[in-house]
Each structure stands twice: as structure tokens, then as C-alpha cells.
Subunit: 234 residues, 2 copies
């Protein structure tokens, strides 16, 4: 009897922003798996920590922090082998990730490799997009707005064109691209309707106007919300 | 002592897809408020029903189903008066809505009218976007994809241009616009990479290829996901 792989969205950071459904699975499976940087603690492990009994086996998937976080294939090949061994032994595994598993998340690389061979269930989670909107007190999009999600690693011309063409935009994966993104927003005259949110809903959360951000110290889990209809949030 | 208005995202439909944080507020406040059509039951009231004690006072906000659901201002003016009376009497009120309160939700109309006068806290929820992706077993967006959220009521030319320009797209508020949206997708040659999800995560959930959808019976809470990178979900 093969085990089931659950892809669980742990939400944006506040441990209470996990869903009941994810919590039930998280607390019932014998094996927990999660990503971690190659030289530090796992953020998502910290998010779910208050909910764990400490009795579960843990599989840590060390993902080297390479450029824009597309790790080498061998990292996932090893994860597939480690998780697969548990599944083949009949043990269910919960892979937890920040936000939602299918929203720009690392889980999809495992999903692509494992869904044909094993039963996989994905449990959606609260994404950083709506968490940041809640933190700002600023609706993300309303009525017939076009909302565009734009990864910051795109080149300046693409960023500029997409931002110019959106009613509302969320720029994700900001990290080391911050200074460049801010310059594009300034050039478009959109800096006045853009706000920066770092680690939304976590204890270290920061909300700043773009001009106050230290561009040498922007974490990967930071986003910029752009609301062209100022009245929606001012 | 004025009460606090909580805007709570109840998630996409499965009652267990509510967050722990929303559940705690939902079960602790004396007053529950929610939208309902003018002649029927409230969908979101049904979603949260399993979590309620039955001891709370309820404020039903009847929203006439007018074209594209932008109701007359007087509906919200009355809701503000009804909810405001509880807040002024010191009673906290939880307004629950489907999905997330700040993602194309009706809560933002209350927020715009009440946030200056009363303490308001928004608790994000799982949106129908990521719920539909989970149901399909199809990542919504990956790596540096541009993801565009497109409301179906837009005109054909806008729909066509936005769909042509996106890496991945989610068409929301499909409802009575389905036949028109399907024609636009067919014209673009995108019908083969588009899928229809109705009432994601609810017991009446349906997942269909576009060609199998009865265009005379498409509910408001249906969406179409378009994945141009077919390998992500096939």
C-alpha cells in the first residue's frame, strides 16, 4: 500500500494562517518534508513548528540558493528518492511550503516528478499576495481590474511594459532585484502608488514606501504592490 | 468601547479551507455578517456553517444580483448602518466572504466606507485561483511566468489581447460570459490549454474541458485556467 504525498501550503508566515485541512494532514502524517537553504534554517519549518508534536520523522530538502532559485535538477532527484522511499514503505508524507504549493512554489518540481508514480494531493494555502494586501489595508483588485503578477527577475523592458499595462500589479521575488524594480517604477511615475511589504504576517514584517527601503538588504520573501487606482487604498 | 470589524476570507468552498486565525475570530465574535442574494441562501454562510455554534446574531446583507454584481450604493449604505450599530454598541462583527476579502471581494466596499471610522482587521483567505489549480493538479504559475487575472466581463478585444500576452491566465467571474470567453479562447487557439472549474473544492465541484461546458448554466463562481506551458499540467 503506497503512501500519499500531500503538498501543503503553510500560508504566508503567521502560523495561524494555515488552513484547518492542512493542519489535520500535518498533524496526522508520520513524515514531514520541507525545503531549507543549504546553510540555514527552514522558514516554512518555523511557520509550522507551533503545530507539530515533535514525533514525526523529518526530511529536509536542502536547496542551494542559486540565482533566482532554480536549483540544479539533482537536488530534486535526491528529494524524490528520499520521499519516494517513505511512500513506497506505505508512509504518508506532507511536504510543506510557504504560501500556496502551486503558486510559484518549489513543490511543483516535486509534483512534476512524482505525480505519475504516487498518489498526490495538493491542499491550497493563503498566498503572500492577499496576505500583503491585508497587511496594507489595501484591496488587491476590485470590479473588473486586470491584476498582473510579475516576477522581479524579468528584464527592465518586460517589467516596464507589464507594469504600464496593468490596473493592479504584484511584483514577487523582489530580493536582490529591488533597486532595479524601484528605478522602473520611478520611470513610470508609479512609485507613489507602490508599497513594499517584507515578510508579510510574520513577526519581522515590514511595510515601507519604496523610498525608505534599504536596497542592499531585501529578502526573497518581499513583494511590491502597485495600485493604480489610489482610492482603493488611500 | 467601539467593536472591531473583521473581514474574514472563508476560502473557496471546502469548510476546512478556512484558516485557524479566521476560525478563532469567527467563533469568538458575537455578530456574524455575510452577503446573500436577494432571493436565496448565502453561499458563504453555508461554507462556515459547520464551524458555528448557532448562538451568534447574524446580519444578512442582501445584494441584488444585478449585472456583473456591482450593486447599488444603497445596499452598502444599509449594511454600514446595520454593522455600525453593533460596532458602536461595542460588539465585534465578523464579515465573512468567499475566498479572500481583498481579492475582488464584496468586503472591500464595506472596508472603503468603514475603515476610517472603525477599527478594521482583514484576515486573508485561500482564493479560488489556487484552489482551482490544486483541484486540476496543475501549477498556476512557475519560475518567471507572468500570471494575469482577467475578469470575464471585459470586452472581447481586451480579453483577447490580455490572453495573448500572458504566460498563464485565470479568467474569473465567468458566469453568463462563458460562451463569449470560449469563443475568444478558440480564436486564439488556446482552447486546448484551458480548463473550466466550477465551485472548486465544494461538493458540487465540476472540472471540464471547455467544449463540454453547458454555456446556458455557468455559475458566477466558475473560473477558467489557461496554461500555455502545457507540460506544467499535462
Amino acid at each position: 500500500m503506497t503512501g500519499t504525498l500531500y503538498g501543503i501550503g503553510a500560508g504566508p508566515g503567521d502560523p495561524d494562517l494555515i488552513t484547518l485541512k492542512s493542519l489535520k494532514v500535518l498533524q496526522s502524517v508520520p513524515v514531514l518534508a520541507y525545503p531549507a537553504p543549504d546553510d540555514g534554517d527552514s522558514l516554512v519549518r518555523a511557520i509550522v513548528d507551533p503545530h507539530l508534536s515533535g514525533q514525526q520523522e523529518e526530511v529536509v530538502i536542502r536547496i542551494p540558493m542559486v540565482v533566482d532559485r532554480f536549483p540544479a535538477q539533482d537536488v530534486y532527484d535526491k528529494a524524490v528518492a528520499d520521499i519516494g522511499a517513505h511512500l513506497q514503505a506505505g508512509r504518508d508524507v506532507a511536504f510543506v511550503c510557504e504560501g500556496d504549493p502551486f503558486f510559484y512554489g518549489s513543490f511543483m518540481f516535486l509534483f512534476g516528478r512524482m505525480a505519475e508514480q504516487y498518489p498526490v494531493e495538493v491542499i491550497p494555502g493563503v498566498s503572500s499576495l492577499t496576505a500583503a494586501a491585508a497587511v496594507l489595508g489595501a484591496p488587491l483588485a476590485a470590479r473588473n481590474d486586470i491584476l498582473t503578477v510579475i516576477p522581479a527577475p524579468l528584464d527592465d523592458a518586460s517589467l516596464s511594459r507589464r507594469l504600464a499595462d496593468a490596473d493592479a500589479a504584484v511584483i514577487i521575488k523582489v530580493g536582490r532585484h529591488f533597486a532595479r524594480v524601484r528605478a522602473v517604477l520611478n520611470d513610470l511615475g508609479l512609485d507613489h502608488c507602490a508599497r513594499y511589504v517584507e515578510r508579510a504576517t510574520m513577526s519581522q514584517q515590514k511595510v515601507l514606501p519604496l523610498s525608505d527601503v534599504d536596497d542592499t538588504n531585501v529578502p526573497y520573501f518581499s513583494i511590491i504592490l502597485v495600485h493604480k487606482r489610489g482610492a482603493a487604498w488611500q
